[in-house]
Subunit: 417 residues, 3 copies
């Protein structure tokens, strides 16, 4: 028993100052981490994978979220299902980590056997009277939005995911994400709190100095800047870009491609923001020279000049371009450790070495991800330092961090903290 008592989580939330980063304890304490997992990763919708992670009936993959283990599979009827990876007998894991092909789910411990629907069909040694019906695998609420799998581990999933579905279904349709191919996947463990991982992703203030590869195709001006501090030259360039962005957006919209920014960031459970961004330079794709990495375009896309349909929200960020897409999913591991899982998608029939070069496809975001991991670990060490005091967000390029912090505090309070 400590002689001195740490502040409650509630008082940490109350200590948060508008316009400033969060109080240290919210980034560092294990009890806050436990609360975060419960509130944000069990009671909110989170993105965990893609329909195309399990393209064929019998394909199954395991996704671990904290102590929870989920099986994402495609059943015999070709339907997606998400279930808990926990045998209803004595709790053994059914499937190991990774992806596999199954006809039924057989627990290796005592051979309890489930259909791909989750129904228990065989339970030896339990007697003829044993009621198998109440022992199906527990199902998990999920929603496939344009091929992206969102799950909610609670019994009362927030309803406002509808807005995300409404906005994104049309935008994502031509990319046919659910029918794409995962050309590459990469797991990076960042040594920082999941909220620092997300804050880092929500601003491009750090881009120019830290992401040379990304900045070939990415325009950090789209993420805010301080007009008064720019040189006349830079100011002219910024104004030129904004004009171009407005013109291009209007023209894309006229051609039937929804492009305007849409956001639901505060006063909501399910936060997201989407916007069609201009790709700079060659203008096609987030590659070292901004030209397309894959000669077969995604889904029904016929043009490479439709920019980058950027979508971020809660635990993920995504970029959909003509030739490929990049999807990053964030899974907290502890107060100071976070998994960032990134997947690169191409057309399902695209062949490596013929239609695309894997290095060209992946190198920009591989580099960016490593750079971000370094920045997040520097931040985590700093906020854990007793000398840290929450600092001011830029009113130009960190406004989405302010919204994130507000949302975070609101959602904690809405869940009883």
């Amino acid at each position: 028993m400590l002689d001195r008592v740490s502040p409650t989580i509630t008082s940490l939330l109350n200590a948060r100052l508008q316009g400033h980063s969060l109080p240290a304890g919210l980034y560092t304490r294990e009890d806050v981490f436990e609360a975060d997992i419960d509130v944000f990763f069990r009671k909110h919708w989170i993105c965990v994978g893609l329909e195309c992670d399990v393209p064929e009936p019998g394909d199954a993959t395991v996704i671990d979220i904290g102590a929870s283990s989920l099986i994402l599979l495609r059943d015999d009827d070709g339907a997606i299902r998400v279930m808990h990876n926990v045998c209803r007998h004595r709790g053994s894991r059914l499937l190991d980590a990774g992806t596999t092909i199954v006809s039924r789910l057989v627990c290796p411990y005592h051979q309890w056997t489930y259909e791909l629907s989750g129904e228990l069909v065989y339970a030896p040694h339990m007697g003829l009277d044993f009621d198998k019906e109440c022992r199906s695998l527990k199902q998990i609420a999920f929603r496939s939005i344009g091929g992206l799998i969102y799950v909610c581990l609670s019994d009362e999933p927030p309803a406002d995911i509808n807005r995300l579905e409404e906005v994104m279904s049309k935008r994502l349709a031509p990319y046919e994400v659910g029918n794409a191919k995962v050309a590459h996947q990469c797991d990076v463990i960042e040594h920082g709190n999941w909220k620092l991982t997300l804050e880092n992703n929500r601003e491009c203030y750090h881009c120019s100095a830290n992401h040379p590869e990304l900045c070939v195709s990415f325009v950090d001006l789209d993420f805010g800047f301080d007009p008064e501090s720019l040189s006349p030259e830079d100011k002219a360039q910024a104004e030129e870009h904004l004009a171009l962005y407005a013109e291009r957006t209007a023209s894309w919209e006229r051609e039937g491609y929804p492009s305007e920014a849409v956001e639901q960031l505060v006063d909501c459970a399910t936060n997201f923001r989407t916007q069609r961004l201009i790709i700079s330079g060659a203008g096609e794709s987030q590659t070292p020279d901004a030209t397309a990495a894959c000669s077969k375009l995604l889904g029904t896309m016929t043009r490479k000049d439709l920019g980058d349909t950027h979508l971020w929200g809660h635990n993920s960020w995504k970029h959909f371009m003509g030739d490929h897409a990049v999807v990053s999913i964030v899974i907290p591991l502890s107060a100071g450790k976070t998994l960032v899982r990134t997947k690169w998608l191409v057309h399902k029939d695209a062949v490596e070495g013929i239609d695309y070069d894997l290095d060209k496809l992946t190198s920009v975001w591989l580099a960016t991800t490593e750079q971000d991991a370094d920045l997040v670990s520097r931040s985590q060490a700093g906020v854990a330092d007793p000398a840290y005091v929450p600092g001011p967000y830029s009113p130009f390029s960190e406004t989405n961090l302010e919204k994130f912090a507000t949302w975070y505090v609101d959602r904690m309070r809405a869940n009883g903290y």
Copy 2:
């Protein structure tokens, strides 16, 4: 300080449902682990080793149980002693892990020197008036039952170990375990709670699918089955085995070898069960072909056809056969980590390469132990999953788990939880 309070250990115990595995927290929480160590590994008798671990005067071996370190040694008079491995000066460890030969116990820090009896005989720099008599090494209550060393770290060891002694002294006598030789020892760390390790050992429901090597000599029917779910063929085979078992047991008993099952599993502090089992196939030993691995039989044994004197209880399980014995001891390391130490015993004069082949001797239980470690780690991951709910034990082949869970809850309550 958490805003929300975890359930107390008492309420976890109260939540246990008859016929079902334990509530998750009892397998996963570190505070429960601390309580378990205190209740089950300090206030109950535990098996820690063998007389033959220290065959000669001056032989000493160190055994760590949680934060406790014990010295098991044979003193100058040939008597076994068990003492705490803690110098009475400033607490330094006297002996390192492992086995050694000593004439006196000299603390490497400041040379305080103890006789093998534990008596302090030299304490430099402490002055002529220093009272050495009250500074002997602290002794630990122990009992050697047929050469197996049981200790209790509390000052009030449960008296009902007498029943274990009474039953086993006669059964173990011909094997002369105390005078055997440890031919091999193997430590495996299972990534699971010690109670899952024991539950796994208390049933053979999982054997046929997981232990092909063991099932050559081991008959899982001896551990319960559901008669109604067997095919007519399997049912006939089961009945045949039960008849053979009854006949063999009666015949062994007539010949003077106690063989009937004896158990003390609930309503007691010291739990155990023993039974002489039939070895199947060649009928001699738990080896790949069920023939004896060692040509010199144990102790005064003259027959290889006396089956397997099986003994299990609390933190250990053992098999005594004509040619060799296998002893496994369980030592919890944390809520989710458990050491399983296995020793293979042969006649003290048996010579490797002449009387026995080490691989034949050890391969069955080496394989079984690895397989069990995998099953226990799957179980631990599963019970830690928020989706876990305690599941039903088989009324045929998991009755001893029901008894174990009952005993566990009872003993926790008896100790104030």
Copy 3:
């Protein structure tokens, strides 16, 4: 929530028995560790480095103390400064571990830029109205005493460091530590509590049996002995040494070299003890043969026969000899892990291979440090054992441990425990 409550830190302090080592929990509990860090490593003066760690303007080195990271640097005016390694924006670490050369401190995250004085001079994206003046890097109170850097992380540094400064400034002057060269540095992680590391350093009761290399030049008699337990021969030798020590001390004092023991060990915040010790054997230095390791003497020293100016206190111990000095700094890492950082100093112009041989210079304390690490880890394992009870300190050679334990308990109480 535990069903049973651990004793408070206050009750552990109250349980401490005069003349005995501390109650176990004070060495092993993480909550005590957190309190220790706060009380002893934030509210007391601690030694963290040397002026000569950063000899030139722009030299900077990072020192981590718990979760705190400090930048020790020499600014453009040649003055020493100590600042927190935490950007005032969102808290990122400015410098990585290790030593570097900088012209300004630029945060790698968003390029906030500070002068070497700590002043914020550039903060992009923050707007023209942004008040940079209140965003300087946080300064840390420090004192350079004879070139040794002491810091205090609290706003109210104890005043009684003045006595240390008063005593040591004159004694250290001729060694010119601030202007020396760090010839070698070595970090060892001891698997024990920082208080065991210090207790181990405060007595030489363990030296003769554990430090053969050190005992060539070191006289353990200087650290207390039990006269009645010595053989007549040893007694004569001890008396001879004490006479020599008295004579040598008087003669050194007469020649203008302060040598008498001075101590401030209890009833104070800043504890220390200093004394000029005789070097035995060849009499020059703590080397394998007790002759000087470096032919260029330190600072303005002209003699090799001025013994060993020994200084210890709180988290460090030091030896200043004619040819070199050895400085050890203790930084706790967790309840059971402690960093011991040792630096060997020679004259700034001394050249390796010409003026000194690195192996001869470092071998004695490298060996001693390893031996001590082993002893401390044995102690930690022992005090963590439930069988540990605080044992008696030697009234002859462990009197400084008694004073340390008294000081520790007093200072905890003075800080509210």
